[in-house]
């Protein structure tokens, strides 16, 4: 195990890599533990875990009791959550607290917070090896409602649907919540099995950053990690990249006034330098007001209210998301493809490239200003095996040329075009 990684100190405790960086610039600190498992049919059971775990621990009989314990720790935020990174399901537990120096009597907020986190993660309130039936049924209903409520955010819904269509048959198609039908058919014992599976077989990482007490920090983290069951982590399978195929197209209709167009492009596997070129490519295409999509699609042709491009590094996707009038969809897709072709041909002005570069460098320079941002950056670097701090990461972008940006987009192809359009009532 290395002693430093991406600007953080590094060690391994109880078989878990631990990255930490005390920083007295901050007035708060955060500790986070994350575990990754492949996205599969157990996604629904996993996604129910945050809600279930917040309903109490062996020590805190119900949710208000748990919430009161956090309030007494000066509003410490102890949150379990799930996320999706490419084709992985990530379970995260984080403790966010003010530094003890700012609280009367300088209490041990790290020690008390880690104890609360351990209660939440390792000692949930169970009955006969499962979450209590009443609690399970309520949380399953809640999770079903929450999954359906995604439709209220039309842009997020359109993206979920676009990925489901483009990546049909691949783990990427499974939504983070596992799908409404999967949630509805869950049995009471499944979430506890998913918790144990995450803890025993998940690929784990612990991070700590901010105004951390330097004295006996690792001892306290070690004490927390020893609360977890014995582990035998399983590796995450590599993502599959489909062969180039004809563009798919889907139109779905709903009562909406503004249509949403999502274009899903595929990108082949590549090294870090190539991905740096791709980051600039995405920025040039749709990374803000300086981009082709903003200037051409929105400002020049007034075809859309918003149009941006983002990368999904873990799966190798470029997503273009546009909010527009249905009648403009074909023209916008044509224009997006035209701009992609121009950029791939290296038709990039110096001004454009320098503006995109300045944006990327500025974003990287500000990563260290936020505890959460820096931890997220470092966790991502760990997963990608990139031992570079934000400052070192900037070096990847400093000398990238227009030709390298164009080259980085080699092998890019449009897999699917998804449109959420108005039905008769929405028009």
């Amino acid at each position: 195990m290395v002693e430093a990684f991406a600007g953080f100190h590094a060690t391994e405790i109880e078989g878990v890599p631990v990255l930490w960086l005390p920083d007295r610039r901050f007035k708060t600190f955060r500790f986070a533990l994350q575990a990754r498992r492949p996205m599969d049919r157990r996604a629904a059971a996993r996604s129910l875990l945050p809600g279930l775990l917040l309903q109490g621990t062996r020590r805190d009989p119900d949710r208000p009791a748990l919430a009161r314990r956090m309030e007494r720790l000066f509003g410490a935020v102890v949150v379990p959550s799930t996320g999706k990174e490419g084709e992985c399901h990530v379970l995260r537990f984080s403790l966010d607290s003010i530094a003890p120096d700012h609280a009367p009597g300088h209490p041990d907020l790290l020690g008390d917070g880690l104890e609360l986190l351990a209660d939440l993660l390792a000692r949930p309130r169970l009955e006969n090896g499962a979450f209590p039936e009443e609690v399970f049924v309520r949380e399953r209903t809640q999770a079903t409602h929450a999954a359906r409520a995604l439709f209220n955010d039309k842009a997020a819904w359109a993206t979920q649907q676009a990925l489901a269509h483009a990546c049909a048959g691949e783990p990427m198609a499974i939504p983070e919540h596992g799908g409404v039908e999967a949630i509805e058919s869950l049995r009471a014992d499944e979430p506890e099995k998913a918790r144990q599976d995450f803890l025993a077989h998940g690929e784990m990482l612990a991070l700590a950053h901010g105004a951390l007490p330097e004295e006996s920090l690792l001892e306290r983290i070690g004490k927390f990690l020893r609360e977890l069951p014995t582990r035998s982590p399983e590796p995450i399978p590599a993502s599959r990249h489909p062969e180039h195929r004809t563009r798919g197209a889907t139109v779905e209709r709903a009562t909406v006034q503004q249509s949403k167009l999502v274009l899903v492009f595929r990108l082949p596997a590549a090294d870090s330098a190539t991905w740096a070129g791709r980051v600039l490519f995405a920025s040039l295409l749709g990374g803000g007001p300086h981009s082709r999509l903003f200037r051409e699609v929105r400002e020049k042709h007034s075809l859309a209210y918003y149009a941006h491009a983002t990368l999904e590094r873990f799966k190798g996707l470029l997503l273009v998301q546009v909010g527009l009038d249905q009648s403009a969809a074909a023209r916008v897709e044509e224009e997006v493809l035209r701009q992609v072709d121009e950029l791939r041909a290296g038709t990039i002005t110096t001004d454009e490239l320098e503006t995109a570069r300045a944006g990327v460098l500025s974003a990287l320079a500000s990563v260290s200003d936020g505890i959460g941002e820096r931890m997220e950056f470092t966790a991502r670097q760990w997963l990608l095996g990139q031992d570079r701090s934000p400052e070192q990461q900037q070096e990847l972008y400093v000398h990238t040329t227009a030709a390298q940006v164009a080259q980085a987009a080699e092998g890019l192809w449009l897999d699917h075009s998804y449109l959420l359009a108005p039905d008769d009532e929405g028009v």
Partner: protein, 440 residues
């Protein structure tokens, strides 16, 4: 320029300071110099928002169509060369703006060339390149933005709710207006509003980050905004009973949504007193609806509310209201339970008071966690001439009796309105992965 140009306020608990000054043209300035961050943030804020639809100047009354403040915000990002965004982007800075009920704010964050960005931000707000042609061109973009908001059930519900609380106050209208109301906005209208409200006496600027306050003051002195105060906005007093206690409409949502709340029947002019009222109301709502509340837990266990429950309080010189919202399969039962909960006299014991004090201290410390928070917070406080770093003092003066009294005053039967978004048609798909996609 020396230190005497500034009045310096310190927070000893957090070891932070804010420098206050007013430029020779009357622009209020606050600077939070800190080396804790690499990034700097700046905000210029005007006391002009979507509710400022009428004013009197030069003896004449002026009425504006709904959405004019937001339209003007869009137009200020345009100049003769159409390069406003580019100038910031070339330096890696991110610039944006927002319009609310009572304020319009322009801001940027940058890790380099802060003074150059500041000059551009001040230039951006100090002139209006508004022509009939470019006003017409922007109309389609703004209409798209309005349609996007109108696709949000939460947005529709919120304005249905405000439309029930208020019969005449312009807070009942969507901030961006409607597609119909913006059709009436002209270049002359925008220029009239710009000249009326974009003045130093109606503005404040705040900058936070690794900056030299003297250099910031010097840049602010170069601001070309017109001097003087803005005209008084005028609106019909709207402090009587609610216009309608119940409103529902069918929307394409997977599950019905309810929003209920109470309207303030009086308003507080003094900003400090208004902040205190705000705080007391927040504590009341926290006592009733935070996750630690046994009252919320009881509603949840009975299946009346779920984790979608959220709550808040918003107020300004001329209006104030609380709101509680949640999803429900039985919106009538949920609304009735929430109404009763807010009307039933609340009890606050010592344990609660101790916990909420700790929680508020934590929240205050966290507010120093980013330059954006610092700059944005100081700009808003500067507009109302609020003394910096008074939050903890304000909080420690609140008693349980204040909260009980505030509930009696605020939660009155005839001050309550409910809006419901009734679940309508089915959405496409069901949230599951769809196995087959058509390829063409």
């Amino acid at each position: 320029m020396g230190q005497h140009d500034f009045e310096i306020h310190k927070d000893r608990l957090l070891d932070e300071e804010v420098w206050l000054a007013t430029t020779s043209h009357g622009l209020r300035l606050r600077v939070v110099p800190t080396e804790r961050f690499q990034e700097a943030a700046a905000m210029v804020s005007f006391r002009y928002g979507s509710t400022d639809l009428g004013f009197v100047e030069g003896g004449g009354a002026h009425r504006s169509p709904e959405g004019v403040a937001h339209y003007l915000e869009h137009k200020l990002f345009e100049d003769e060369e159409l390069k406003v965004f580019d100038r910031f982007a070339r330096r890696g800075a991110r610039v944006n703006a927002m319009t609310g009920f009572t304020r319009t704010s322009y801001h940027f964050t940058a890790t380099d060339q802060v003074l150059e960005n500041l000059d551009d931000l001040l230039h951006l707000v100090s002139r209006a390149h508004v022509t009939p042609e470019n006003v017409d061109k922007e109309r389609g973009i703004i209409a798209q933005e309005i349609r996007m908001y109108e696709d949000s059930a939460d947005y529709r519900l919120f304005f249905d709710f405000l439309g029930g609380l208020f019969g005449s106050h312009p807070v009942r209208h969507p901030v961006g207006g409607t597609v119909a109301s913006i059709a009436d906005i002209t270049a002359d209208e925008l220029l009239a509003c710009y000249h009326a409200f974009y003045r130093t006496g109606n503005a404040a600027m705040a900058v936070a980050g690794p900056v030299d306050p003297h250099a910031i003051l010097q840049a602010a002195e170069g601001c070309k905004l017109a001097s003087g105060k803005a005209p008084e906005s005028v609106w019909e007093e709207d402090l009587g009973p609610v216009l309608r206690s119940w409103f529902e409409r069918e929307l394409q949502v997977p599950r019905s949504k309810v929003m209920l709340g109470f309207k303030d029947r009086d308003v507080v002019g003094d900003p400090e007193a208004r902040l205190r009222r705000h705080l007391v109301t927040e504590i009341l709502l926290d006592r009733l609806f935070s996750p630690s509340s046994e009252i919320r837990e009881d509603l949840r266990r009975r299946g009346i509310v779920d984790d979608s429950l959220s709550f808040g309080y918003l107020s300004d010189f001329s209006f104030g209201f609380s709101s509680v919202s949640c999803e429900s399969d039985d919106p009538r039962a949920a609304a009735e339970a929430l109404r009763r909960t807010m009307l039933r006299p609340v009890e606050l014991d010592e344990d609660y008071v101790d916990r909420v004090r700790r929680k508020m201290l934590g929240r205050y410390v966290r507010s120093f966690g980013s330059v954006r928070n610092l700059a944005f917070g100081q700009a808003q406080e500067a507009l109302d001439d609020i003394t910096p770093f008074r939050m903890l003092e304000r909080f420690s003066s609140v008693t349980a009796a204040d909260v009980v009294a505030r509930q009696r005053e605020h939660c009155r039967e005839d001050s309550c309105a409910v809006a419901v978004a009734v679940a309508g048609q089915q959405r496409p798909g069901n949230g599951s992965a769809i196995p087959a996609a058509q390829r063409s």
